[in-house]
Structure formats: structure tokens, C-alpha cells
Symmetry: C2
Subunit: 898 residues, 2 copies
């Protein structure tokens, strides 16, 4: 209501003073807040809020929007009551307006929807708790992320936003939109939800998020201020007025209505708000004659694809960051799980206490805030400086995780003891289990349905031991397998754990010295296969064959469906460009630009060394080179193929930066089409060298076909579908019919000139390139039966069981180590997305139908679930349906109808 | 009264938030004010005042000092009444305090006292007019000028200042003072005035004018702010507190009392005042426990020399700027004369109008402000960037001069016509006179005593003309001489003009075609002298001999006194250092560092070409090289030798920067002593390789002996004195007994790393090095009779007659072109320093006794002058004796007694 509505027959220019405050990029979020480490950049957010509030106070005509609640909430905490009251007044009067209102402005390519919802919730609820409904952001503001996902639009719509504005889109796309007056349109965010539920008015900013050229009045800008001293030779009022009117008219040509917006601000601007406001005041004073104008029509076009990939020039595709910093991307995904478990168990404790726990000081807040920051478009995206990436991982997430482990341990043991967490079990490192002869393993399942999962525990097995695993609740001795291992521990103990819905099961593990000859329980150290033999591993569901000459996977059989197709898998690398005659653009943290479209084999001699094949879990080890390994696994009773890749240290002594991919080639007649998920949720169809809404001039045959893969990618023909699920976000594509590829790691020597000013060259503790290990899960099945598998497997992937350890004497585990906190497990198509407790002590529950509309004949159907008695100790008194962000009652909000 | 008085038994640290705002340096004064041209530096003074005032307003415990009235007055004009009222309140309450209060912070080495007084007056009176006596600055603040003159101290004392603080002094001097606790002492500013009239408490700032290391909290500083979030890993409160206390104790060791000052600010800081104040608030909050301390004694030492030259390291003597940009230095001196004439004639007009003229819009204000800015320590000093020097000269001074010429023309012609001014007569260029056959010359004498001066007017004399010059008031035809000339005009017309005190005389000049053979009035084009003949010129007073072999001056005879001594004069150049093994320091705009102590001859072959010798004015032309010329002149009836030097374009194609000197070598037994003036007024004794107050370790045998020469330098022995007067400020020295030298021009290729970041490499309109022409006036006489000559000649030099032109019909000149505005001319020892009209319409008159105490037995005596009837139309009703700055009644001020 506080906005100037403009005049019908004039061109109305809406001046939007704003600042864009990255929660970490070139400096850490803390350094940005205080303005420390200013040899990198002075940016100090505390002063932005200090001076903006002051400048708004002195002049009621001034307006400002603020976005990042991670910064705002911190500043707010430091203010005295007087300032807080003044800010409340400014918010009430619409002079200070929050938009977006997330904890951060999250990345859209490398983020998982669970984390997006959480980080938006954290920010939006802070605003609601602090200022009430009047402060609810109406507009989403994703001005800087490097491409835009459709899922994000859907989530925003469900959060009650009236619109979305952003700044970065493909330059060809933008040109087309300018010409066709499609800078603003309706974005259909979901193929499953009834519209307009996921429809969102979406505007492209004319100047990214910057002011028009010549009008940057910030204290760190180079443009001249308005110099209006009439006696001055340098007086530039006329020039500025002319330039401004010209810029406004130029911009207006691209828009359908007679209202245009000018973003007056940029990165960390307004730290001296006076400089901006003083000159804007003058500008508005001198451009006092609005110009007559008539150009209104209100038929909005509709878009239902997304804004990936983003290119700002022919050879500048921002598709490298889909994979940049795979270690951090994996850690963020893993931390999401910790936060969900922490939320769940904090809620369990809260319910146990009769909802009387003091949640204001909730330990989960640390990880919640850390995860909010980690979703930032320079955090999980992998595009910050190295020292900032270290801060995200080593300070923020690690500290948050530590607090959450305390919560988890304390709730599970009812405060009786500390459980031990081993963060490096993926590289078979766990001091606790390696050095114990007898210990307890507690395995928590955060899903609201029961699952059975193979657990792998690093143990010491020399000279020769027998391991006995007892399920505590039943006393049953489980079948185990001990895998000799080339990692940190010399063995891994493998067993299948049956886990209750939203609860845990516990196992006593004891090591006995075996007679030297008793090797019954040991699998042989994988013998090197006779190179003349093909090798095949198989279980009840799959059979996978490896070629005896090349050592590569060469076919897969789905035993149930009878599908048998050649599947040739290899690890290869693109050489990152250092620039060439066509363009100086180098491959870097943001940009993927291979020097050639043909990748090199990781194996120098074209042969991959194969070794090992074993029973309970059948494994094949592949060595592509000294820095690229793979294990392909088939677990008994498990209906997917697991491919664990280990890449690094990527060698760069040859001065060639490398971007490593895993590529699958099949005879599936996919014909250029492939499918990738958006933020781990709905799936979009992709087509090579094609964009649904404009005629593409493809200038980068590889990078220009890369898309974000957050959880899955698949190709298919009329009958067969090959699906690859990932454990973290990666870039992926299908560059020829029947093929798909995922980029798993990159190490570069160039710099892509997008501001970060460092090559993406991660090194480990010894200065070598960073080694990264991750997993792909393969499904080969009919098209119709694939979705029900990848939907459930995808859910299990990001909410995998949490394994903790206690001493020889089991901790005080309720019901002898077995517990489910849910009364009625949920059906498989319903995902318990959120079970958390708010600051005010209510429960925040999100139930999600995780099947898209046409995924599966059965599982895509609506389901009814009773909240009553869902969770133990949870007596439902009042149920309020909230917006997705949890910050307003859904029925109180009427979104604008477009 | 608003200051915290501290506690007797504690160390009291006085935090002084301040900003240092150059009125031009790397950017022009206008660019600095607005914050334009920010690719060079962001600095924007408008925001400093905006945000400081706001920050003072919100917290009554905050304090700030402001210095430069050129900026403040401009900002003030732009404020609305509300802000002005608030500022008045802040000033009244002592929260905003003006110190120094000059229009600028003037340079002390290259400035003339007349201009210093004017610029201080301009600022101080603005403050008094705006805020009343409460705002009167009590402390002078010369924190940045590169050395300090004793005359400046004397002027400050006479302006009523209680003390002076500065930042730059010789590093050896500073070390000594720190050790001897002489960082604060009493400076005796005059050898002529009764003390304590010219005594001034003077403090050296510990850190120049910067904060202690680690405490620069400005928005453009690199130091970390105080980060006091207790949850933060980066929390630095303890470190900052420890560092601060340690810095305070370290500083306190150098001072006699338990009060120390910390300058919290620097160049153009506080443009975002919040950043500074917020962190100072935190600092003071955390350093809340003052530390017990007792170290008070109050016996102040006394100093009576000055602080030249300034060195901040063994090879960094700031003695180059004494000469840098000689063209600008000359123009500033010339502009001072215009301003004085403008003041005088504006007053004449004011008196004519019965003191009813509207002086608020006085046209002289433009030049007054321009001159205020030009005295700045990066303006007349020659140490600004080239584009800024252009702004000072081509915009500021030129525009001010244009306005003043209007005033002068309009008063002299009583508004009836426009007189023409020719600015380039020194290079014999004046379109008006060159293209007229008949015109009028009006010659104004700004001195309050009558003088006779030779006037030289560029004329066209081809093919052959006779020039008739008639003194209008008497109708007398004057003797003339026409000099053929190698300059722009082909001839110069020379005649002697008798000029009344404070008034003008006018001459009709007519050109007649002469018969081709009539060359009587022409002097021959100087014939090249037979190299075997010595050449001698002489008049009633002097005879000057030039050696036939070398072409150089080799002796001078004072005919009256019979003194005849060898005087060997030559032009030479030092090669500016580009750094060597001893130090990387290069010669530059600030620093003089010759590569060798032995200069090179300008003449390559060791021979100077001589030509010409003529009657009425006898002249000898010397050509040292293609870029160094000299004319030595003796005028009939004039008792000094004029040496006009022309230097440039200094060649640098050999990649050698050059610093050109004029050196005189005599047999005067001066024994290392020499004498230089301070700001054109009192004279100080200098001694080679010696400093009066500390044991000097001389590390630069040439540059370390250079001193500023603003008007004169002399050497003497028991009997004979050789005095050289200059027409502008230059550096000078005496490096061996009987010798003295003046540096006249410099062109350098290196950069001295003092911030200006440009080599001092002035070029003219065609890209060649700038040519500069100037004059030296030589006196050779007994010691006792020298002062009366150089005092009067010095006065005539900076207040030389102003020559203007009218058309063939004389303009409406009162009394047929002759007029004196003074009733009773002043005696020769009294200089009419100021005759001006204030904004409120009173007359501001400064009468100066221009002889030092022991200059002359007769003329140094006190004189009584009657103000009544001094000036025509001036009826004295009330006389108030003011402080020298004109901003307070002298009898109302009690300076602190030390």
C-alpha cells in the first residue's frame, strides 16, 4: 500500500533501492557482516543496515528493500530497543520492505528442495516472529543465482509469493524476451499441481540487479554523483537527466506495461546509504517530469520449462558450478540429513517433555542457520573463494553438526551417554570401531517407513578375527561379511540392518580371535581376474558384465524384466579450456568450457584393471588410473546397482585442468532427449541443442547441453529406461543417443573471470588435489516401472540411515535398542519432509506426496493420512495449514491473480 | 568546556575523530567535494559532513573536529534550515569543533604571508559570521604540510591561536624529541615581536595524523573492525583492547603530561562516519579502565628556528616541492596581486557609494576562494596530479582573475568601458597592443607609496615605426626605447612610468610610420659580441662584467659603495635520482634527490653565447643551451640587477630527469651560513649540514641543505652581502662558502612514492616540456645597507604595477588618467597589507611594519600612522583592533599562557 501506484498515461519508473549481500563469497559470512578482511573487499553489512535505517528515518519518502535474513537477524540482535522500535515503524509503514526473506538467496542448481524449504522457512518465520504478518515478503528475489529452476518457482508459489524477479538468464533468451515483450510472464512451476497453485508471475530485471549505466551512486562506485552546484564547470545535472530518461525509454521498450523497475544497488552497496539516497533524491528531483506514455496490455504469456543452462555470452556457459566442489556439495547434502534427524529428535524430546522444553536455545539452530547459509548461491554452488568454502564446511556446517550430534545422542540415550559419530566411514575410517573389540551400533532411520539397509563398519581384522553381530532387540545373530579393504581400516564389516520407521535399531558387535586358518567369514582379498575371462556379478535382480579386454562394464541384465542391453561405462575427462581464438573464456568455478568436445580416457592405456568378486555383497574394483577408481556393487536383496567412484588427486602437473565425467553408453534410442530432476523433486525433459522457448544458436556443444542433476538423470526409449541417481548435485547431459554422463569432479588452473578470482583448484591437507568419493545408483528397467523405484531410492538416498556407536555395554536404549517414534508408518508415496518444533513450541509437520502426476499408475494417486496419532506422544489439538514457508496461515493469504 | 578534562592520576587518552580533506590533490577540489572521478579515489567530502553531523546528532557523547572551510562553507550552503540549526547546536555544545579554520590547510614552504593571512581570514571570518565567537578555532592544525615555517607560527599566534599541532617533521628531529620529551614545546615565532605575542604552544602528533596501527576503522581502511559477537571464532575484542593499551603506553612515553592525543582519522575519512564512530564506541566501551599513570611536569622548552627541511628517511628530503611547478607558483604569486588590487578597488567603489554597495555578491569572492584553495599544501606546493594543477590554474585562478579584472576595469573607468588585460606580457604577447596603432596604457600601483617603474609593452615594429608615449595627466612625451625581441611580438616598447601611491597613471601610446632610414629610436638588434671582448653593462649603480671566453657573468661592481667582487653565475642541472643502492628513493614532485652532488652545466660546450648590449635599458642575452636562456638587465636609475631566466623545454629524451639551478659563486666569506626568508617576511639564518636543535646526521649533502626561498636569499660576510630576490617561491641553498643557488625548474621521469603517483613532468600545449620564465633581482652592497633595499624591492616585487589597456580614446579616467586613492602615502617601512571590505561593509585594513627589528637603524623604528584620512572618501567612525585573522576583537581574546 505504501508504493506509488503511478499514473495510467505515463511511464512510471519504480526506483528500487536495494543491496545484494552474499552470505559468503569472496569473504566469509562473518567477515562480510563486520566488514573484516577488507583487503579483499571492504563490504560490511552491519553498516548497510545501520545507515539505511538511519536514512529511511530522516525522510519518509525513502524506501528500501532488504533480502537476506541471515544478515538482518544478526544485526537485529545487536540493536537496542529504540532502534528496534524504529525499524518496526519503518516496516509497518512500508518504508523498509523485506523481499524474498530467505535466510540466504539460495542457489537453484545445486540445492535440494528440502534444504531450500528449510532455509526459506528459517528466514520467513524470523520475519513473521519479529514483525508480524505485515512484514511477509510478497515477492521473491533471485537476482544473482546463475540460472533458475522450475522447482524453485513452484516452491515460491506454494510459499505464497505473488511474484519473482531475477537477473540472470541466457543472453539469447533475454534478447528474445526483450523483442517479444516477454520480460515478464507467468511461470508454471509444476506439472503435477493444479494451476494456478504453482504459477508465479516472473519478471526479468533489465539490468541484472544493477542500476542503469552511469547511475551507480554507491560509496564504492565509480560513476560520478549528481553535481548540481550551478557555478560549477563540472555541473552534470542536464547530462544525468537526459541519460536517465533515455535509459528509462530504452528499458520501457522491452516491457508490456507502463511500469518499469530500476534496481538501484548492487553487491554490498548502501554501506554508506547517504551516498545513494542523496543522489537518488537529486535524481528524482531533477527528473521531475514523468513522460507521457501509453503501452499497456495485460495478456501474460506462460512458460513451463526452466532457465537452465545460463550463458551470458557464446562461450560462457555457467554449467561448471553444477559440479564445482563436489566434496562440499556432498557435505551439504549429508548435513541436510543431520538437520532433519536433529529436528525429528528435538521434537521427540519436546513431546516427551509434554511440550515444555525450552526451544529458544535449541541446539539445532546452529545447524539450521549453517544450512541456511550453505544454500547460498556462492556456497553449495562451489563458487566462493577457497577460504570461504573452508568456512562453510569447517566452521559453519561442522559446528552445526556437532550441536546436532549432541541432540541426537542425548535424545536416543535419554541423556545417559554420548554416542560416537564417525564422519569418515565413507573412506572406511572410524577410530572408535577400529580400536574396539566390542561396541554397539545404533542405526537411525529418518524415513517414516521401515527400510532394510546394508551397513558397512570399518574394523580392524588383522591377523584374523571373527565378528559377531547381534540385533539387540531380538538377540538374533546376523549374517555378516568382512570385506578386506584398501582404505584406512583394513576391513569393513557388512551386515543388513532392519530399521523401523522414524526410529532406530541397535546391534552389538563383538570381535573374536579366530584360529589362523579360519577364514570362513572373510572374503578373499579380491584376486586379480584372469584377463582372458569376462567378469560378471549378479544378485536376484541384476547381472552386470565387465569386458575382459577393456575392464569396463559392458552390459546389464535386469533379471526380472528380462531386459538385457549393452551398457558401456567409462571414466573420462575434458580438458578445461584456457581460452582460445574463439574466446578468451577459461573453464572455472562457474563456467564449464572444455577445450575439445572429445574427452580423454582416465586410463592411459585404454585398459581398466579389474579385481575381486565376492558373495553377500558382490563387488568389482576398477582401477582407471592412479587417481580414478570405481567399485561396482550388487547387494543381496537390493534392487539397484551401486557404483562408488573415487576421483583424485586429479593430476595437473601437465598444466591441463581436468573435468572428470562418468559416461554410460547404451543402445537405448533416446534420440537426444534426456531427463533431469529439479532440486531433487520434479523432473524436466531436456533435449540436446534445443531450448523450448527460443531458437538456440548452440555455441558450446558440450557445456551448452549440461544441466543440473540434483538427484537423478535418465534416458529412455519406448520401453527401456536407464536411471542414474546421485548422492549429491552434479552436472549431467546426454550428448549422443543412448548415452548419459555426469561430471563428478573438476580441478582447473584457469580462472573464469566471474569475480571469484581464484582457479578452482581444491587441495587436500598435503597440498595434493582433493580426492572425492561418491556414489551413483543405477536402475535399468521398463519405463513404466522405473519411477516407483527411483522415487523411493531417491528418498532413501538423501535420508539414508544414520549410524552411531556406543560402548561395549549398550547405552540406555529404550526397548533394548529398538524404537520407532511414529505410530503409523507412512505409505511409500508420502514423505515426511519436516518434523520439527517451532520457537513457540508448536510442531511443524510437512508431508509430501513424492510422486509426480504421471510417475506411476498406483503411487501417483492421492493418499489420505491421519495426523492424529501420527507421532508418539503427540496429541493434536489444533491443525493450521500454513504456507510452505511456515510463516502464514494458508487461508489468510490471497495471492495476486494474474 | 565540552572536553573531558581527564583524571589527574591516570593516563588520559584523548580520542580525536577527524578527517583530512585536501582541497585538491589527486582529484580537483570539486571532485573531492562531490566524490566524482572516483576511479582515482572515492573520496567525497559532502558525505563526510552529511554523515558526521548525523552521527554526532544521535549520540551526545560523540565529538568531531573539522578543518577546511573551503569544503565546509560549500556544504553549509547546500543544507536546509533544519540541518543548519542542528549544526549550530552541535557547534554550540562543542560536539562539532572547528580547528585551524582556514579556507585550506596551507602549505608553509611555497606560500607568501599575504596569501596565508588572506586564506585564514576567509575561513575564520566565515566561521565567525556563521556561528559567532563560540566557533572560533583555538588550535591550529597543520597535520600534513611537509615542513613548518616559523612565520606560520608567528601568524598563528597573532591570529589568537592557543596552540598548533602538526604531523610531519624530520625523522631525526622526531626521534630526538621523543627521547627528550620535546614532542610539545613553545615555539617563538618572531625575532621582532615582543614575546609572548608570537609564541605558540606546538605539539607534534605521535602518528602524523593517523590512528595507531590496527585502529583505522574508516570505510576505506583495511584494519579489521571490532568483532564482538561472543559466538564468533573471529572475535577480536581482547586483541584490540590489548593493542590499544599498548599503543597508548608507548605513546605516553614521549610526552611530558598524562594527557595524550590519538588522531582517529586520515585523508578523506568519515565519509561513512558510522563505521568510525561505531567502532570507536566499542573501543571505548571495552577499554573502559583507564590505567593509573603519573608523569606530569610542565616546564616547556622553547624553540625559535623552524621545521625545514623535512625528511622522513635518510634519502627522502621533501625539498623538491620548494620549486615544483614553477609556472603555477608564479601564477599564484601574480594572482595574489590581482586579489589585493581587487580588494583595494572594490573598497574604493564601496567608499564612493557611501558604503552602500552590495558586497555579498562581491565579484572578488571568486578569486579570494580560488586563492584560498591555491594555498593548499598540494596546490602551490606543486604536488598535485597534473589534472588538478590544471584545475587550480585554468579554472580556479583564471576564473577568479577574470572576475577581478571586471572589478578593476569597472572601478578605474567608473563603469564606462572595459580595459584589456594582457596576461602574457612576460613572453611579449599582447594581441591588443600588437595590433593597435594608438591605445592607452593604464598602470596601477597597489603600493601605498609612489614608485617609478619601467613598463615593457609588446608592440609590432615592422617595417619601421616611431612610438610616441604621452603621459596623459601632464601631456609630457616620455623617453622610450624599442627593443627588438625574439619573442612573440617582434618588439617591446620600454618607458619609465611614474606612479602615484595606491593609484594609477595613464599613457597614450601612438605608432607613427617612420622614414625607412630613421632608426634613431630603435636599438640595434643585439649584435653578437666579438668573442675576444669581455662585455660590461652598467648604469648609475652597478657595473656587471661577462667573461669573453665563458660568456658567464664574472664580476659585479657596486659603484656607490665601491664594492667589486667576482660573481660567477651559471645555470646547471642536477640529475634527478631514479634510486640507487643506498635507497630506491627517486626524485619527484615532493622529494629532491640528485643522483650526484655535482650538477651538470646547461651549456654542453662550457660556453655561453652572449649577445647584445643597449642604452636606456642595458641588456645582455645569454644562451646556455637550446632550452636555457638568460637576460641580464640594468635599467637607468634602478638600483638592482635584473636577471630574467627562461628554462625549458627541459630535455628528457636522454631519460635523465633534470633539476635546473642558477648558481652564484663569489669570494664572500660566508662560511656555510646563508639566510632565507620565511613566507616572504622574516628571515632565518641557515647553516650547511647543521640543525639548531639536534645533531644532524647529514645523508643528502645537496637536498638536505635546501630551504624554501619565498622572496629572498642572501649570503654575507662581515662587510659584503649578496642578495637575490625571487619573483616566486623556489628552493635554495649555499653549498660552499661564497656560493648560493636557486632551483628554478625541474622535470622528472621518476615518481617519489609519496602518493601523487605521477612523475613531475609538466608539458606545454605541444607536448614538449613546459617553458618557464622568471626573474631574479640581485643586490650587492654592504651588510648594513642591504635590508632597506631588499625590503622595499621585495615589497615592489610582489605588488608590482598592473598594466591595462584602453582604446585610442582614453577611457573616462578621472583627472585625465591619474588618480591616487590614498590621501597620505605611507612611509616606506609601512606596507598596506590589506585594504578590503568585509561582507558586512566595514573596511578591513592591515598595516604592516615591513622591517624586522634589526634590519635597519632607521627604517626598523616604530612609525605612527594616522588612519583618519588615510583613504579618500573614508570617514573613520569606529576602529576595532582585530586578531590577524579578522575574526575577533583582539581585546576580547586571552590566549592561554604556557
Amino acid at each position: 500500500q505504501s508504493c506509488n501506484q503511478g499514473e495510467a498515461d505515463k511511464l512510471n519508473v519504480h526506483i528500487v533501492p536495494h543491496t545484494h549481500d552474499d552470505v559468503g563469497w569472496l569473504k566469509t559470512v562473518d567477515q562480510y557482516y563486520y566488514g573484516a578482511n577488507s583487503s579483499i573487499a571492504w563490504a560490511g553489512v552491519q553498516y548497510i543496515l545501520d545507515t539505511v535505517v538511519q536514512q529511511l528515518s530522516v525522510d519518509p519518502t525513502r524506501r528500501f528493500i532488504y533480502v537476506e535474513v541471515a544478515f538482518f537477524s544478526r544485526w537485529w540482535r545487536e540493536q537496542n530497543t529504540e532502534v528496534q522500535q524504529e525499524v518496526k515503524r519503518l516496516v509497518q509503514e512500508g518504508r523498509l520492505e523485506f523481499i524474498l526473506g530467505g535466510w540466504s538467496m539460495n542457489d537453484e542448481a545445486a540445492t535440494h528442495y528440502n534444504a531450500i524449504i528449510d532455509q526459506m522457512t528459517l528466514g520467513l518465520r524470523f520475519l513473521n516472529d519479529t514483525f508480524g504478518p505485515c512484514a511477509r515478503p510478497r515477492v521473491a528475489w533471485q537476482i544473482d543465482p546463475f540460472g533458475h529452476s522450475r522447482e524453485q518457482a513452484s516452491l515460491f508459489a506454494q510459499m505464497g509469493f505473488d511474484g519473482l524477479f531475477f537477473g540472470r538468464l541466457d543472453y539469447q533468451d533475454k534478447e528474445t524476451r526483450e523483442m517479444k515483450l516477454k520480460m515478464e510472464e507467468i511461470w508454471r512451476g509444476s506439472q503435477s499441481l493444479h494451476h494456478p497453485e504453482a504459477d508465479l508471475f516472473t519478471g526479468v530485471n533489465e539490468n541484472g540487479y544493477n542500476p542503469p549505466a552511469g547511475f551507480c551512486f554507491d560509496a564504492y562506485c565509480k560513476d560520478d554523483p549528481i553535481m548540481d552546484d550551478p557555478t560549477l564547470e563540472d555541473n552534470n545535472v542536464k547530462q544525468k537527466v537526459d541519460d536517465f530518461i533515455s535509459a528509462a525509454h530504452k528499458q520501457a521498450k522491452h516491457f508490456r506495461t507502463n511500469h518499469i523497475m530500476m534496481t538501484m544497488g548492487s553487491d554490498f552497496q548502501y554501506s554508506n546509504a547517504k551516498a545513494w539516497f542523496k543522489n537518488l533524491d537529486k535524481l528524482m528531483k531533477y527528473v521531475n517530469s514523468a513522460v507521457r506514455y501509453k503501452n499497456c496490455f495485460f495478456l501474460w504469456s506462460v512458460k513451463s520449462d526452466d532457465f537452465f543452462p545460463y550463458a551470458d555470452a557464446p562461450h560462457q556457459f555457467w554449467t561448471g558450478y553444477f559440479t564445482s566442489r563436489p566434496g562440499l556439495k556432498g557435505y551439504v547434502r549429508e548435513s541436510n540429513k543431520y538437520l532433519q534427524v536433529c529436528n525429528q529428535l528435538e521434537t521427540v524430546a519436546h513431546l516427551r517433555s509434554g511440550m515444555k522444553s525450552n526451544l529458544r536455545t535449541s541446539k539445532s539452530n546452529v545447524l539450521r542457520a549453517a544450512m541456511g547459509v550453505a544454500q547460498h548461491h556462492d556456497a553449495v554452488s562451489g563458487t566462493s573463494k577457497q577460504h570461504v568454502a573452508n568456512d562453510y564446511a569447517k566452521h559453519k556446517l561442522k559446528s552445526g553438526g556437532r550441536h546436532c550430534k549432541d541432540v541426537i545422542s542425548s535424545v536416543i540415550t535419554e541423556g545417559s551417554s554420548n554416542l560416537t559419530f564417525c564422519d569418515y566411514m565413507n573412506i572406511t575410517l572410524c577410530d572408535f570401531t577400529q580400536n574396539s573389540n566390542r561396541f554397539t551400533a545404533v542405526v537411525y532411520n529418518p524415513l517414516a517407513r521401515a527400510v532394510s539397509k546394508y551397513i558397512r563398519i570399518p574394523v580392524d581384522c588383522t591377523p584374523s578375527y571373527i565378528f559377531v553381530v547381534i540385533e539387540l532387540v531380538t538377540g538374533a545373530r546376523l549374517t555378516t561379511q568382512v570385506r578386506r579393504n584398501r582404505g584406512n581400516a583394513n576391513c569393513e564389516l557388512v551386515f543388513l540392518a532392519k530399521l523401523p520407521a522414524l526410529g532406530y535399531n541397535s546391534f552389538s558387535i563383538e570381535k573374536y580371535k579366530s584360529s589362523a586358518t579360519n577364514k570362513r567369514l572373510f572374503t578373499p582379498k579380491g584376486k586379480v581376474v584372469n584377463p582372458s575371462d569376462d567378469i560378471t556379478i549378479s544378485n536376484e535382480f541384476y547381472s552386470v558384465n565387465f569386458n575382459r579386454n577393456s575392464g569396463l562394464m559392458d552390459s546389464i541384465v535386469n533379471i526380472e524384466s528380462g531386459i538385457k542391453i549393452p551398457v558401456h561405462q567409462d571414466m573420462l575427462w575434458y580438458n578445461g579450456s584456457m581460452g582460445n581464438n574463439a574466446s578468451k573464456q577459461q573453464s572455472g568455478a562457474y563456467i564449464f568450457r572444455p577445450n575439445s568436445s572429445t574427452p580423454f580416457h582416465c586410463s592411459n592405456d585404454g585398459k581398466v584393471k579389474l579385481s575381486g568378486s565376492n558373495p553377500l555383497v558382490q563387488e568389482v574394483y576398477q582401477k582407471f588410473s592412479d587417481w580414478a577408481y570405481q567399485v561396482v556393487r550388487l547387494y543381496k536383496g537390493i534392487k539397484h546397482i551401486e557404483v562408488e567412484w573415487t576421483v583424485g588427486p586429479i593430476p595437473v602437473k601437465d598444466q591441463w585442468g581436468k573435468e572428470v565425467i562418468s559416461r554410460y553408453e547404451t543402445n537405448i534410442d533416446s534420440n537426444g532427449y534426456f531427463y533431469t530432476d529439479a532440486n531433487g523433486r520434479e523432473v524436466l525433459e531436456r533435449k540436446k541443442n534445443y531450448r523450448p522457448t527460443w531458437k538456440l544458436n548452440q555455441t558450446e556443444p558440450v557445456a551448452g547441453n549440461y544441466y543440473p542433476v540434483n538427484s537423478r538423470i535418465y534416458i529412455r526409449d519406448a520401453h527401456v529406461q536407464l536411471t542414474v541417481l546421485t548422492d549429491r548435485s552434479q552436472g549431467g547431459s546426454s550428448l549422443s543417443s543412448g548415452a548419459l554422463e555426469l561430471m563428478v569432479h573438476r580441478r582447473l588452473l584457469g580462472e573464469d573471470s566471474k569475480g571469484v578470482a581464484e582457479p578452482l583448484n581444491e587441495t587436500g591437507q598435503f597440498g595434493d588435489g582433493l580426492i572425492t568419493r561418491g556414489k551413483h545408483w543405477l536402475l535399468l528397467d521398463t519405463v513404466t516401472s522405473s519411477a516407483k523405484q527411483h522415487r523411493l531410492l531417491g528418498e532413501e538416498a538423501f535420508m539414508s540411515p544414520l549410524v552411531m556407536f556406543g560402548g561395549a555395554t549398550p547405552p540406555a536404549l529404550v526397548q533394548v535398542g529398538f524404537q520407532s517414534f511414529i505410530v503409523n508408518p507412512l505409505p511409500p508415496n508420502i514423505h515426511l519432509l519436516t518434523l520439527a518444533t517451532t520457537n513457540s513450541g508448536e510442531l511443524l509437520v510437512r508431508l509430501e506426496h513424492q510422486f509426480a502426476k504421471h510417475d506411476d499408475d498406483v503411487l501417483s494417486q492421492p493418499v489420505t493420512v491421519s495426523l492424529k496419532g501420527l507421532i508418539k506422544n503427540f496429541e493434536v489439538k489444533i491443525v493450521d495449514e500454513l504456507l510452505l514457508g511456515g510463516n502464514a496461515l494458508k487461508n489468510t493469504i490471497n495471492r495476486l491473480q494474474w
